[in-house]
């Protein structure tokens, strides 16, 4: 189910602007990998290169290799649509489809990709909502619009929507930055459960969160504003937060940055 990601020599551009440069790392399957680093250092850009969402932005292009269990995502003949079905994504701001009910939101990925029987869909929707710890809160109002939920519930709805298509990898771009501590806790618990089944990569600005949820942590940094972001180091989370091998990481984590 879960897959390993090997990135080598990845450089991403927006037009002529180089956003990240020469990044190589390995993301282990069935684990949580956290990306930390200052704003603008290219964490989100790097995350979006992992399911070819980067190229959706006008001018976005990539050099280098991203291997998903040995298959290069950027090889010719690879369909980005299939890549995104395999590598799901949850965004910073909850973005349920406003025209769809809660049920339809979760079923969207399946329904828009093929036809399913009603009973089958209902089963998958229930499983996904349970997987996202949202089932008990919404089971009586599955036909109400998804945008009527609270922010935390909407974000869990988006997670349910993402896991309903059974991806191999789940990318999360600051999934808790718009949420209160209680909703954040719910999502962090959820991440702990989801890593049994998926490979999870999470971008976060919250160092405690990275320490709490992740097995491995990658620290990104940029030399100066306008310079491309680079991977400083990636290691076991415990090591990064107790005894990092690079001075810059320690400075950033302890708040002595810049």
């Amino acid at each position: 189910m879960a897959k390993r990601i090997d990135v080598s020599g990845l450089t991403a551009y927006y037009g002529s602007h180089k956003a990240i440069e020469d990044i190589s790392m390995t993301v282990e399957p069935r684990s949580v990998t956290a990306f930390i680093g200052p704003s603008g250092c290219g964490k989100s850009t790097f995350l979006r290169t992992l399911n070819r969402m980067h190229e959706v932005t006008p001018g976005g292009r990539v050099e280098g290799k991203v291997l998903l269990d040995g298959d290069d995502l950027y090889a010719s003949g690879i369909d980005p649509v299939n890549v995104r079905r395999t590598v799901g994504m949850v965004f910073q701001r909850p973005n349920p489809f406003p025209t769809m009910s809660i049920f339809d939101n979760v079923a969207a990925g399946l329904r828009l990709n093929g036809s399913y029987k009603k009973a089958e869909l209902a089963e998958i929707v229930e499983k996904s909502l349970k997987g996202a710890n949202l089932w008990n809160e919404v089971k009586d109002r599955l036909n109400k619009p998804g945008s009527g939920l609270s922010g935390g519930q909407q974000q869990r709805l988006c997670i349910a929507r993402a896991i309903a298509v059974e991806p191999q990898v789940l990318l999360m771009d600051e999934p808790c930055s718009a949420l209160d501590p209680i909703s954040t806790l719910a999502i962090e618990d959820l991440i702990g459960e989801l890593k049994e089944r998926f490979t999870i990569v999470i971008v976060t600005h919250n160092m405690q969160q990275a320490a709490r949820v992740s097995d491995r942590t990658a620290f990104f940094n940029l030399a100066a504003v306008g310079q491309p972001g680079k991977l400083v180091e990636i290691d076991e989370t415990e090591r990064i937060f107790s005894n990092p091998s690079v001075q810059a990481t320690e400075d950033y984590i302890s708040g002595r940055f810049g």
Binding site: P98, T99, G148, C158
Partner: protein
């Protein structure tokens, strides 16, 4: 202590209270200025009600400004001045509209009846009483429907191309030509189809020829309004859909368009309303036919704007009445279209309820 640097004390008021005019002051001033205007008008022998109204407006603006300056202070007075100016301009804009509708209803209701709607002018001479607009309604409905059938799909697809796909030179050129098309006078569109379809290709006058000219006028309006609506759809929704592995065309069809459908419908309806009242191209291309012709592809047809023009030009008492009644029918038709559009927009709008 007293010699320290200046503090915010200087601008902080001693009390949060401020004198306010009572709520009934504004209506009272309005009433007073209206009465004064009537007095001035009668006293100086001004006959025009427009002059009375202008005097009343001027008095109201000045009086409320002075009163507010005395009681409430300068800042509040400026606020009241701006508010009263906004109200005055609002009234100025509404008066022509209200008087137009009043005039049309008053004069048009004389002969407006089920008989009028269900009969044509086939055997009625222009100076005779009787007859109706059935042939014109059929003509207008068919011409507008045909024009929409051409313009709406092309307009929608152009807007989708511009917002979702268009990059670089081609998109810029398309945008430019849409802008140019917006500015085409309706008579020019009519002349274009006249010279191309009727004079060069040799076809006869018909509803279809008029519909082609109308569609030229409608297309840029549809493109512009749809473009704006599609731009309002947040990018996050597109990304959410793409990230689920949904192909781009399905994302547009199933996520982007449904989110914007309310606004798009309103835009299309407004474009329909715009062309339903066009006279010039219809005059050139549909010609006039007092008989009912239900085939828009063969021969001259009637049309509401044309009927109004032609009946008014005929110049008899009976034809004046018919022209006004037809104008009433045209306004009613456009109003119904607008209401339907609003209904659809409300019904289809993204719901936020719990």
């Amino acid at each position: 202590m007293s010699t320290t640097a200046p503090t915010a004390q200087a601008v902080t008021p001693d009390t949060l209270r401020a004198p306010r005019l009572p709520r009934w002051a504004s209506p009272l001033v309005a009433l007073g200025s209206a009465a004064a205007a009537v007095g001035v008008g009668l006293g100086t022998g001004l006959h025009s009600r427009v002059q009375w109204g202008l005097i009343a407006a001027l008095l109201f603006v000045v009086a409320s400004y002075v009163l507010a300056t005395v009681v409430e202070g300068k800042r509040q007075a400026k606020d009241r001045f701006a508010t009263s100016m906004v109200w005055m301009t609002f009234l100025l804009a509404v008066i022509p509209l209200a008087s137009l509708i009043w005039e049309t209803v008053e004069r048009g209701s004389k002969v407006f009846s089920p008989y009028f709607l269900s009969h044509s002018m086939g055997v009625v001479a222009d100076r005779e009483v009787g007859g109706g607009i059935n042939h014109a309604i059929i003509g207008t409905l068919q011409q507008v429907a045909l024009a929409s059938l051409i313009a709406v799909p092309i307009g929608l697809l152009t807007a989708i191309y511009l917002v979702e796909y268009g990059r670089g030179k081609l998109a810029k050129a398309v945008t430019f030509f849409v802008d140019v098309m917006t500015g085409i006078p309706s008579i020019v569109a009519g002349l274009f189809v006249l010279s191309f379809w009727i004079l060069i290709l040799g076809f006869d006058f018909s509803g279809w020829a008029g519909a082609m000219a109308l569609s030229i006028l409608m297309m840029p309006v549809v493109v512009r309004s749809t473009e704006e609506m599609l731009k309002l759809v947040p990018n996050e929704l597109r990304e959410a859909s793409l990230a689920l592995g949904v192909p781009k065309w399905r994302t547009i069809l199933k996520v982007v368009l449904p989110t914007a459908i309310g606004g798009i419908t309103t835009g299309v309806m407004l474009a329909v309303a715009r062309i339903a009242g066009e006279t010039a191209p219809v005059l050139l291309l549909v010609w006039v036919n007092p008989f009912i012709n239900t085939n828009p592809f063969d021969g001259a047809q009637g049309s509401l704007p044309l009927y109004i023009y032609q009946q008014y030009a005929a110049g008899s008492e009976a034809s004046y009445d018919r022209a006004w009644a037809a104008a009433l029918a045209l306004i009613g038709f456009i109003m119904i279209l607008n209401l339907v559009a609003r209904g659809i927009a409300r019904w289809k709008a993204p719901k936020t309820g719990r």
